[in-house]
């Protein structure tokens, strides 16, 4: 058994201590150590975006980050997107616009899209397509996802 390293970070607003092996990715830590299974593994090499989380406000593919790199960082996963009493506008728009079919890509898309709209709530179709090009969806053909993000942007602009 490999030695474990003590890591302290802040995940979804909570200070979290965990032990991880140096070879474990952040995605493995989230899923297997912390039981935050909302982040998904679709490829484990940075090509599908299903594992997308934010680290200090930037989107990262958690399969390409080591667990130990979370030391001192703020991580937001899909489990941290909704508030205690309501869904985030992006989540709400995904529901209303039927922007998910199987839903396995959805956590990654929502984390990415939220990050985009927080910077650019008026992002247009092309900007959205460009920003989300790192997230693969095999079910929807992207049409309804793009519409949902446009709609969420509208809601967020109105505040």
């Amino acid at each position: 058994m490999a030695d474990k390293i003590h890591v302290q970070s802040n995940i979804n607003g909570y200070d979290v201590d965990f032990l991880c092996e140096s070879r474990q990715s952040l995605l493995e830590v989230l899923r297997d150590v912390l039981n935050l299974t909302g982040s998904k593994e679709g490829c484990n090499d940075g090509n599908c975006g299903a594992c997308t989380v934010t680290m200090d406000g930037r989107i990262v593919e958690s399969c390409c980050i080591l667990g130990v790199e979370a030391e001192g960082k703020e991580i937001i996963t899909i489990e941290g997107v909704a508030s205690a009493d309501s869904l985030h506008p992006v989540q709400q728009a995904f529901l209303e616009e039927a922007a998910l079919q199987c839903g396995i890509c959805t956590p990654g898309f929502i984390v990415s899209a939220k990050n985009l709209l927080e910077r650019e709530p008026d992002a247009d179709e092309e900007r959205i397509r460009f920003w989300l090009a790192g997230n693969l969806c095999r079910c929807t053909g992207y049409d309804k996802i793009v519409r949902a993000v446009l709609k969420a942007g509208e809601v967020m602009r109105k505040g």
Binding site: E21, T37, A50, C102, G103, L136, R138, G141
Partner: protein, 759 residues
Amino acid sequence: MNYESNIVLSENQYKVVGTRPVRHDGVDKVTGRALYGADIHMPQLIYGKILRSPHAHARILSINVDKLIDNPLIEAVVTCSDLPEMEPGQENASLKYLRDNVIASDKVLYKGQPVAAVAAKSSHDAEEALTLIEVEYEILNPVTTAYESIYENTTVIHEDLNTTETYASIRNPRNIASHIQHSIGDVYKGFEECDVTVEKEFHTKTVHQGYIEPHNATAFWNKDGRLTIWRSTQGPFEVRETTARILNIDVSSIKVVPLEIGGGFGGKFDPYGDPVAALLSKKSGKPVKIVMSRSEDLESTGPTPGSYIKIRIGANTDGRILAAEALLAYEAGAYPGSPVDSGALCIFAAYDIPNLEINGYDVVVNKPKTAAYRAPGATNAAFATETVIDEIAEKLNIDSLDLRIKNAAKEGTRRPDGPIHPKIGSLEVLKAMKEHHHFNTPINKPNEGRGIAIGYWMNGGGPASCTLQVNYDGTINLNEGSPDIGGTRTSVAMQAAEVLGLQAEDIFPSVLDTDAIGYTSGTGGSSVTFKTGRAAYDAALDLKRKLMSRAARIWDVDITLVAYQNGEFIAGIDHASNPEQHMTFRELAEQLEDTGGPITGSANTNGEGEGGAFAGCIVDAKVDPETGKVDITRFTIIQDVGKAIHPSYVEGQMQGGSVQGIGWAMNEEYIMDNKGHMMNSNLLDYRMPTSLDIPMIDTVIVEVPNPRHPYGVRGVGEVSIIMPPAAIANAIYQAVGIRLNNLPMNPETVMKGIWSSQE
């Protein structure tokens, strides 16, 4: 643009059916709470990893696991010798194929085929332990395409495949697993009467379903002999049955618990890790989880076949197609079972052709055993038919849509495989295409062209079960056995709600395990909203009858005096116009406990009566003649869905299938080296469409109700993938004047086409 997108051409109006409620499992799926196959955790869980063949074709001489025997990190090791002895009399060939595909015995037939497995406390330890297993192989020559396998190569893949027929022109019939033939009329005479004929050969590559969630299986073999399997699957009952066959145990000793599924498209019916995880669990006494990596998934699970198709179609100057013939050779992969049967069925099924002959060959090659993929076999076939039809229209100087309208199959046309088409929406779809804004907007930009294509898919049905339990607050728990891959909990619940005069939100649907619900065939063949929807409809009728009789008992009147209207039970001599008694659904529900006990409605159906799907697409493509890159600039799909229960999710199926078809057309392929190794088994190099590659996918829902479903539902999931490759090829021809016969139409193929046209 000044036109309405995503239109629904609707015939009937219902209260719930045809509306767009939020799906029941939606909140779980947007918050990351939904549990998919790989998300399961349980006490003592250990992890399995599979050692896979590094060769595409080899004999296994020995497997040595001695180095793992006393390794403290290792909990269990499994090879084919851990599978039960095959009993004489078990159908041996097909069972051996199934077993060898989960863990090979004497030969490996594709790179990535499992040969051994280990379980350890961590997946990393299990993975490292695989390097300690020693396997000796005698490497054999591989053959990786259907064309090579029967025309060029003499490698024999299965010694025991006894092909008795002999075929002119086929050099190596020993790799043909089966031959299927359909014929109508007299092709020879038919072609003699034609003024124009076009004959072409087509080659397409192996492509994968590409679901974003790799295969997974977690198994626990309890001390009482009961085996539980948790996984994401399209067919829990199919997994139960096949696993039972492989392990030679009773189906009743296996419980399959379907967790949420991250896409399947036909690829998640077959067991892969399940029997292996079960054996590892039996040996270790602990639950074992196996999750495939992406490259394992691409190299070892069933893709859909590459193919070779030769086709000839002829017509007279009036534009009547008089004769057609086709030869289809589809890669089965390592073991028999390509979808050449449905390819052969569909290749001319969209048309009414008086004389035809179709020969289909199921050809084994050294690639993973193919599995179903959305309208299996039909996309390859339509690529051939629909591009040749386009060429005939050009030669006859007739608009290609008019040629299709003139020759389309309709109610009463005999399908090439025998049955007569019942009511199908072919002419309605073609009319909607002709009237669509997209079709009527001229394009005149340089190097941009428009193509169309049509497609037919027969859809599927199958047995299904459903129960409805009334809650005291007037809501209903609906239980079904169909894994929900794209919103079917809701489309099934809506049908029960419609019968009962309730809202979709009053029904709480759940997908149960194989111990808890009656047999339900898998989520495939576009069947769930049709068959499980039918079961829910029937269960709702059953429930309604039982509730009416309870109301009669409460009111102490004869049941014939009770009716249920608009969510209310009423009674009286003349109950419709002058009810003496009223009770809402909820008021009755509240009393059930005290008036005779709870009530459940239930139904099982055999799921017959599916309606075939007919669709067309219109696509604009822009070709860069310098680089060969093709951009899809506008795309419209028009489909007869029978009745859209939840139009948003129907559109989603149409859009998703279209984009998979675009990926197949433009980029996707298994790139194989001469050793039979896949060179691009990752999602960077196996390049599926991203959001940036695709425009909005406009939809037109045409509704020609299926007379054999209470709301007219046809399947909607599959037909949309069939048309894009052909339509895009036709668009490329309009753009730059080259006809492409090979998929994918990537820049290399396009440039080769452009260069050879300049020679």
